[in-house]
């Protein structure tokens, strides 16, 4: 297994954000993490990144414990979310150069140009971050996330601010990375169609607990408690959040 999360729990005072969550991810897998707001998805991702210390439980990545090998593990993984930002006075190129230096890339300019082209933002290279739209910022974040050719990529709602065409390009870039380089991706999103298309396996979180895990069709049948031919994650989501099927 590439990622093993065992009995992960995080409490903030009386509030339990993540409650005894366990799951594993195989190499080369794209796995979706779904759940309503406050379900514990982002907290789980932040614990996997070592940004939040778990109250209890164990996280092992590439066969090493996150608690003791954080730096070594983070060399080979990356993360992005449209909710984090970059220094806004710096240009796109300057921001990406900082991360290229952190990862000690041999040919940083070449790599940055490739990534800007892949996410169709070459024309923004010398623009300050402050002049970009939310969608353009998200794509800069994706360039940063692919900077070190990560073995494991954590993406928190990566297509949140993107228009359908760009979102489609991004999804293709992710699928290409998985096919060509075997990149393992843990993906959170509120777009159920996207998750159905991208992920073979899904973990559904609610109130900090894993309430279902499996393929989209398995989850659909387990939560809706009926036989279905096609996955219906939208209905599953509504059933869980509102307590009723759509």
């Amino acid at each position: 297994m590439l990622v093993e999360v065992e009995n992960l729990t995080k409490t903030f005072g009386e509030f339990c954000a993540v409650d005894n969550v366990s799951f594993a991810i195989e190499p080369g897998e794209i796995i979706g993490m779904l759940g309503p707001n406050g379900a514990g998805k982002t907290t789980t991702i932040h614990m996997i990144l070592g940004l939040i210390t778990p109250t209890s439980g164990r996280i092992s990545i590439f066969g090493k414990s996150m608690a003791t090998h954080r730096g070594e593990i983070l060399e080979q993984m990356n993360f992005t979310s449209p909710y984090v930002a970059f220094p806004f006075r710096l240009t796109v190129l300057e921001n990406l150069m900082v991360f290229a230096r952190i990862y000690k890339l041999k040919k940083p300019r070449e790599r940055i140009d490739q990534l800007l082209e892949r996410f169709a933002i070459t024309r923004l290279r010398d623009k300050p971050i402050s002049s970009l739209s939310s969608g353009e910022n998200t794509r800069v974040g994706l360039c940063k996330a692919f900077m070190n050719d990560p073995r494991l990529l954590l993406l928190d709602e990566p297509t949140a601010y993107l228009d359908p065409e760009i979102a489609w390009q991004v999804k293709n870039a992710l699928l290409d990375a998985q096919r060509e380089k075997g990149t393992t991706i843990l993906y959170t999103s509120h777009n159920m169609d996207e998750v159905e298309r991208m992920c073979k396996r899904i973990i559904f979180l609610h109130h900090g607990k894993v309430i279902a895990a499996g393929s989209p069709i398995e989850i659909t049948q387990a939560i809706l408690e009926e036989e279905r031919e096609e996955p219906a994650l939208e209905e599953v989501f509504l059933r869980l959040v509102k307590g009723k099927a759509a």
């Binding site: 982002t42 907290t43 940004l51 939040i52 210390t53 806004f88």
Partner: protein, 262 residues
């Protein structure tokens, strides 16, 4: 610690300095303005025959040295605040970058900025008021090192507080050094203070540096005692600041504050 990651932090702040006029103002504007204002004051006092020449040197030397101390302490905290304001901390700390590397990078940037301010202020002191700091510099350097060491300890502690309490306490970055001014005895000897405040001043590495500086300018030579006291106190304060920062950083990770900074 990896040099390439420290270098990345330095490059990030050099880019910021190039594009952020506020940082240029911080680096050059205030040290230059201070020396101009105090310079005119010493000119006025000298023309009125109210002062001996050594007192003029003491004032201008003190302005320059205090400027290095204040700038270093402020710039350390402000560099961190810059990353806080633009919500860049998650990006940075989801990479292999370690906190020690981040702080080391910021320290190098602060030293560079202090040097720029020091050179600018010294050049104006020399050109406009005939105060040449260069002959004094070999004897000033140990005291300046102590001032910067203390600024580093304070900057570390203040950065820790900002980590814990976020932008609610960011004003400390600009104001905390001001609290120490009266007991740092920048422009007057420790003996001018009331007895009870003298006890506090003796605990300040800054006060020892300025006492030492005045002895040098008065032709009494380098005071090893003031230097040693300043260095000893600095070791204690720096150790406390590191322990405090380490404790706060772990607390921040436990409480999830690192991802909620704003």
């Amino acid at each position: 610690m990896k040099l390439h990651r420290i270098n990345a932090v330095i490059v990030r702040h050099v880019y910021e300095a190039r594009r952020n006029f506020d940082r240029v103002i911080d680096t050059v504007w205030w040290p230059v303005l201070d020396i101009i204002m105090w310079g005119f004051f010493t000119v006025y006092l000298a023309h009125s025959n109210r002062l001996q020449p050594t007192v003029v040197s003491c004032l201008l030397g003190a302005v320059i040295l205090w400027g290095t101390f204040y700038s270093f302490q402020r710039d350390m905290a402000v560099a961190f605040i810059d990353d806080l304001w633009c919500r860049n901390l998650i990006n940075l700390f989801s990479t292999p970058l370690m906190m020690s590397e981040y702080m080391a990078g910021i320290i190098v940037v602060c030293i560079l900025k202090v040097m720029v301010g020091l050179i600018a202020a010294s050049a104006i002191g020399w050109a406009a008021y005939s105060f040449d700091i260069l002959p004094w510099l070999p004897k000033f350097i140990p005291y300046m090192a102590n001032l910067l060491f203390f600024a580093l300890a304070l900057g570390t502690a203040i950065t820790g507080l900002i980590f814990r309490y976020s932008t609610k306490v960011q004003a400390l970055a600009w104001s905390f050094a001001g609290l120490l001014m009266p007991v740092s005895c920048i422009f007057y000897p420790i003996s001018s203070l009331p007895k009870w405040l003298q006890a506090v001043a003796w605990m300040m590495p800054t006060a020892h540096s300025f006492e030492g500086m005045r002895q040098v300018l008065a032709g009494q030579g380098f005071s090893l005692t003031h230097f040693a006291w300043g260095a000893g106190l600095n070791v204690v304060y720096f150790a406390l600041a590191i322990v405090f920062f380490g404790w706060i950083f772990e607390k921040a990770r436990t409480r999830g504050l690192l991802v909620k900074q704003e």
